[in-house]
Amino acid sequence: MNLNTPIPNTWCPGCSNFMILSSAKKAVADLVREKWAKQRDFVTVTGIGCHAKFYDYINTGGFYGLHGRAIPAANGIVLGNPELKVMVFAGDGDAYAEGISHFVHAARMNPNYALFVHNNQVFALTTGQFTPTTEKGFPGKSTPQGNPFVPMNPVAMALEAGAGFVAREYALDVKNLVSTMKKAIKHKGFAFVDIIQPCVTFHDVRGYMKGKTYRVKPMKLDRALKEARKWDYSLSPRARIPMGVFYRKRRTTLEEAFGAEAWHKKHPKRPLNGGLWAKFKA
């Protein structure tokens, strides 16, 4: 099994995307080795941004979508063939700015795939503007006076919107990241992992994150929400940041709800049913 591609990597030296990439490859390799799925069953769906170069760097099926639209493309993939193992990688600009409506509705509709958001709290590939999860006061290139908005909390939002698997991980904590990724991929339904990802060039939170995190285990929804609200992404110096899987629940998936099945399971002689016209007989 070769999960590498011949494409030269163009992330900044020291970028924490490297850790997320190696974690994803490890997760896929483990799942293939466990015979949970074949390599060609995996599909990597990405949006647009630094994270999205994943598409070129991992040797699975790939769908390099539009900015903000990785989620709806993945909705269609599982509707078209529910047997595919879909991993969606999106940025915070992707999932929380341009594609926020898709994010909220995917949490509700529960399509069967894992969504990993590379949350570096900044638009990096466009050279440093605030995103919906950037802390207030951040001096971006579009807001030299400081970001005037408070950040949103995607973990709390996913829980409120009905997501059946909600987690947060840290890009540099590879061991926990791999383990949560595997759980998310295996979860039947929409599995959301917000990955705090230091951007070494425009938004470096490595120092901030040091010693602030603690682990949580799946809990009931009310408690999970309470726990999720303990950190509001504002980079306040005294914060404690919960990490791990907050919530886990099996619900009917989007493709189950609409009776979707793979094309190869359908009756081969379906098309050109001219007899349908007879239904219009007056």
Binding site: R40, F63, A260, H267, P271
Partner: protein, 556 residues
């Protein structure tokens, strides 16, 4: 009998008359018209049913016009021979009568005013049965046997008994003027179908796997019809917005499904970003676009052809697409397999262009559809050396389903394997490979009757889409003119259109729009300018007689 509407010819009785039903939304206007239309269609007559309704659910002023003939009828006129009028705001329909016409109803000014409230009280029937009382009265005034009506009222299911009783009362109590129709005996099977029904079942016939949509008038009926179908192996899914819909359809297509989306003008605007993704990713997609008058929210429940150029060009970047415009439901049913065939075979976008008039009007046909192609998914059995974007002589990379192969689909410029490229040499090579598809698709479409010529004459009417019905009806009253129907708007059948233009004396464009966009499209592709345009932009379709008068003037 009636001026203009019924002509006697030796040995052949030609009948052509119109019934209007007008009232408030929620009173069963559309249902009543459907019952009348289905009755005459089932008896072997040709029928056309025009539906006019506002953007509201209860109240207001809705009406239907049902035209009936012994020869094909494909459009309405704005005056009727019989009118059933019972809404608070519909009294003006009493005046929209041909000379000698009969009006029946509950509003002031009708020739036969009927106290439906009293009838319903006596029957202890609910207000909703009012239309059945009036239908009974209408059948009496037309001199038509009650049994025909009662047979159609079976459509009310468990409420049919009550409706039949109401209709029988209306029939028996009617004391107004009677203008009996002398109808010849008709035989032959008639198919009664709306554009929405034809698009829906045509898509199923073409092997569609997934239909994804967000509700928007006038495309919504297709979503409803498909969602209501059982046993056809299709998934019908409503998603959060048109952007989500279009992207999901490409996702489904990536997974190997035959995918289709449906929307109207504003929803199409939201989808254009994704159409561009289609152009780059080359994932097959069929898009049903039912136009309505814009700009913006415009006149949501009315008709327009004003999005022609938007349908042809919507989306950033340069990429090929197919745009077809069926002229009636039979054509729509026949063209749907072509839409899927072209999309899947050439990994392209097929737009099926319709509008409110085609989508929601009822037409009759006496023939069955003939298919020009056999659609399939065109999924290659990928070998070890499969490449998602292999360069080929015709510019079409073989299609394969995700899962069988590690398929790549991308919004970025890419190499043959689907990996991102930005360098000189790679970028232009891939652009050139995609450019070949323009020519390939053009060749394929030229074999699918992209234009049709109806009738004979030295003058030429140019039209496309839903104006076909009114044009054909109008040409019966216009001397020396034939009709060039452009069925494929992209790739544009330039040679065939040019030939028709050059062999005609006077040319007139008929379009349901304010600017006559087809004239520009024709000029772009043929260098010919059509100076004379017969346009209509009040949201209503052309009436047959109305168009005939305007064409006679234009050709003078």
């Amino acid at each position: 009998l009636f001026n203009k509407t019924i002509n006697m010819r030796p040995g052949n009785l030609i009948v052509n008359f119109q019934i209007s039903v007008a009232g408030e939304a929620g009173q069963g206007i559309a249902r009543s018209a459907d019952i009348i239309a289905r009755d005459f269609a089932s008896r072997g007559f040709y029928v056309f049913n025009y539906r006019d309704y506002g953007s509201l659910i209860k109240g207001g002023e809705n009406f239907n016009l049902v035209r009936v003939g012994t020869e094909p009828v494909r459009s309405n006129n704005w005056k009727s021979d019989y009118a059933v009028v019972f809404g608070r705001f519909s009294a003006h329909h009493v005046k929209r009568l041909e000379r000698g016409g009969v009006s029946i109803g509950t509003v002031p000014g009708v020739k036969a005013r009927i106290d439906t409230a009293a009838v319903l009280r006596e029957l202890k029937a609910p207000k909703i049965a009012e239309n059945s009382v009036l239908l009974g009265a209408l059948y009496r005034s037309m001199g038509q046997p009650l049994e025909f009506l009662l047979r159609q009222l079976e459509c009310f299911g468990k409420h049919s008994g009550m409706n039949k009783k109401a209709a029988t009362h209306g029939y028996e109590l009617y004391g107004g003027p009677v203008r009996p129709l002398k109808l010849p005996k008709r035989r032959g099977t008639r198919y009664f179908v709306s554009g929405s029904e034809a698009v829906s079942l045509g898509a199923v016939a073409a092997g569609m796997d997934v239909y994804i949509a967000y509700p928007m008038t006038p495309a919504t009926p297709v979503l409803h019809i498909l969602a209501g179908l059982k046993g056809h192996d299709i998934s019908v899914v409503q998603l959060e917005n048109e952007i989500g819909v279009a992207n999901a359809a490409l996702g489904a297509s990536y997974a190997g499904a035959s995918a289709m989306v449906g929307t109207s003008s504003g929803g199409y605007a939201l989808m254009t970003e994704t159409l561009s993704l289609q152009g780059m990713s080359e994932l097959p997609l069929v898009l049903y676009l039912a136009m309505r008058p814009g700009p913006a929210t415009g006149v949501p429940t009315y008709t327009s052809q004003g999005d022609l150029k938007f349908a042809l060009y919507g989306g950033h970047g340069e990429f090929p697409r197919v745009v077809m415009a069926p002229g009636d439901p039979l054509e729509a049913f026949e063209r749907m397999p072509e839409a899927f065939y072209l999309a899947n075979r050439y990994r392209t976008l097929s737009v099926v262009l319709s509008d409110k008039h085609l989508a929601e009007s009822g037409f009759t046909f006496d023939s069955r559809p003939r298919f020009r192609v056999r659609p399939q998914r065109f999924l290659a059995k990928p070998g070890k050396d499969y490449k998602s974007y292999r360069k080929t002589a015709d510019g079409v990379p073989p299609r394969a389903p995700a899962g069988r192969v590690m398929l790549r689909a991308t919004s970025y410029e890419h190499d043959e394997c689907g990996y991102t490229v930005e360098d000189v040499g790679s970028v232009d090579a891939m652009v050139e490979n995609r450019l070949k598809k323009f020519r390939t698709i053009e060749k394929a479409v030229s074999a699918l009757d992209p234009v049709r010529v109806h009738g004979r004459g030295r003058n030429l009417v140019v039209g496309w889409g839903s104006t076909k019905g009114a044009i054909l009806d109008a040409l019966k009253q216009v001397k020396d003119a034939r009709f060039l129907q452009i069925c494929y708007l992209k790739p544009f059948p330039a040679k065939k259109v040019k030939r028709a233009l050059e062999s005609s004396r006077k040319v007139v464009l008929v379009e349901n729009s304010a600017t006559g966009q087809m004239a520009d499209v024709v000029a772009e592709h043929t260098g010919h300018f059509i100076g004379k345009k017969v346009l209509k932009y009040d949201g209503r379709p052309f009436g047959g007689d109305e168009l005939a008068a305007r064409l006679r003037r234009a050709f003078r």
